[in-house]
């Protein structure tokens, strides 16, 4: 029987030649749609400016050069600072989110007191409201607290919107930790806090790491509206806003802007490549019903 079933399995996965062609053709179209901006952006970064602004359009660069990757450092003098700011903002946001979310997720996973379901629903509802809707009071709040034009004006509101998915993801992970551990620790006379700190946290570490990565990527990729509205100081701008200033100009130096974009997204691409297995699990687990 086992053999037969394996045969069926192999037969189902066997495609006729035209099916294989159709799959690859479909895949090509699908991936071309998703990757064309990057392909085009990369080719643009290799083209000399004169070639970019010439008709007719040419897809491949002639005499491609990496010169833009050198000259962009002069055109965008704040570039290194922008990248640093982006990392700093994402890192601090991630730390804040973890500090708040790890205890909360544990509470949601282990305890079920009256009102907690409502609170969980409340957290999830947060992710449905975008920052744009709350911008006016947040702006006034930041101004009152004297935080406008500081890193915190971007970090504090940004972190709030990263909390819901992080709670959901980590709660799902922590629910898989057997309750017997809590009971054993209780029998041994450990306090609730000791159990959380010494028993649960070490076991939950892989889950916490996934949540940290996902949160960091979220923080890194969504820096726009708060940074656009709450900060006008060049030295605190994250990369997207720093480059946005060049994007809006009359004469955009496209090849250098694209070169800068590629250097800016390189960390994200490296992360995808090395962590994709965790990422796929981590990014979807939050949404998949348990």
């Amino acid at each position: 029987m086992a053999f037969k079933s394996r045969d069926t399995r192999a037969m189902i996965d066997r495609y006729r030649w035209w099916e294989v062609v159709a799959i690859y053709a479909g895949m090509f179209c699908f991936l071309f749609f998703l990757l064309s901006p990057f392909i085009e952006g990369f080719l643009v970064s290799l083209k000399p400016l004169a070639q970019l602004f010439s008709s007719p359009y040419r897809f491949w660069p002639e005499n491609g050069t990496f010169a833009a990757y050198v000259s962009m450092w002069e055109t965008v003098p704040g570039f290194a600072r922008y990248v640093f700011n982006s990392f700093l903002i994402s890192t601090i946001s991630t730390c804040i989110v973890l500090l708040l979310v790890v205890p909360a997720a544990y509470a949601f996973a282990r305890f079920d007191y009256r009102g907690m379901g409502l609170v969980l629903g409340g957290f999830l509802a947060v992710s449905m409201f975008s920052g744009a809707v709350l911008l006016i009071p947040l702006f006034r709040l930041m101004r009152t607290m004297g935080l406008l034009n500081t890193y915190f004006a971007m970090i504090i509101p940004g972190a709030a919107f990263l909390i819901p998915s992080a709670i959901w993801l980590l709660r799902t992970y922590m629910m898989r930790i057997p309750t017997e551990l809590n009971e054993a620790a209780y029998m041994d006379g450990a306090s609730q806090f000791y159990t959380f700190r010494r028993v649960i946290l070490p076991i939950a570490r892989p889950g916490i790491i996934v949540v940290a990565i996902v949160t960091f990527i979220g923080a890194y990729s969504q820096q726009f509206i708060f940074a656009l509205t709450f900060n006008s100081k060049t030295e605190y701008m994250p990369l997207p806003i720093g480059l946005y200033a060049y994007f809006g100009k009359q004469e955009v130096i496209w090849n250098e802007l694209m070169a800068a974009s590629f250097v800016g997204i390189a960390p994200a691409l490296v992360i995808i490549f090395f962590l994709q297995r965790y990422l796929v699990g981590g990014l979807t687990a939050g949404a998949v019903k348990q």
């Binding site: 189902i12 991936l31 952006g41 007719p56 079920d112 907690m116 609170v119 990369l239 694209m258």
Partner: protein, 294 residues
Amino acid sequence: MIKSRSSLIFAWALLAPAILYVLVIVAWPLVETFRLSFTDASLRKVTNYVGWRNYDKIFNETFLTVITRTFTWTFFSVLFKMVIGTFGAVLLNAAVPGRNLFRILTMPPWIVPMAIGIFMWGWMYNGQFGMISGLLQRFGLVDGPVAFLAYGRPAYWATIVTDVWIGVPMVTIYFLAAIQAIPRDLYEAAWTDGASRWTRFRRITLPLMAPAIITMSMLSLIATFNSFDIIWILTQGGPSGSTTTMIIDTYQTAIGSKKYGEGAARAVVICLFLSLFCIAYFRVTRRLAATDKA
């Protein structure tokens, strides 16, 4: 589970910091938006309550157009995301060499900073030198350069395409997970009965991934309704308002013109719609969970 007074206190103590944070940064601003919508708040120091005047002012022809536009824009974007996502997930599930690589290649639009992906689209849409206009001319599909962001109709669709582009990876990966959760036995039984590949997709895959499609389209609806970065970077709501959605409209009023009171009234209308979506989402997911158990 051990239940005692101390663990009750402990549980709420664990929750307290996160609750407090969200109360200050999300809940209070929400309430404050409602309050401000009844005032004439602006950059001036004095703020007066003006009753329903802001609402009287905003409910006119233009605002109704903006609401309609927001809904059609969102509808088409979500529709395309679901269709392309299903298409992509089925392809990524096919057992052909290279599928792990293809799965990785799906992710960049999702993972890289959104704004930077949008800059790249900004160049692609350029009429004189951009890739889309260039390739269309090369293949003889259009006569002259097409400046996508310079005219209303094309700009409307261009912003939708970019929004779809950003949303598709997550939808695809989520659908892929849903497809992989379908028991293989079903396919084997159907195969033994001589069901064709199309029949298997139509009768097994599609019905069993329906809950995932419903859940995702609701989540996507909410996210798309809130979409700001794409339109702001590409067109700032222009040309002549043809890509102005409710979020963009609110931003222009509140931050652009510094009319906080009127902007808050516009934000309140958005919140009302979002609350409806939110309630619908919770009801639908609860019903899906219930049928799942039965």
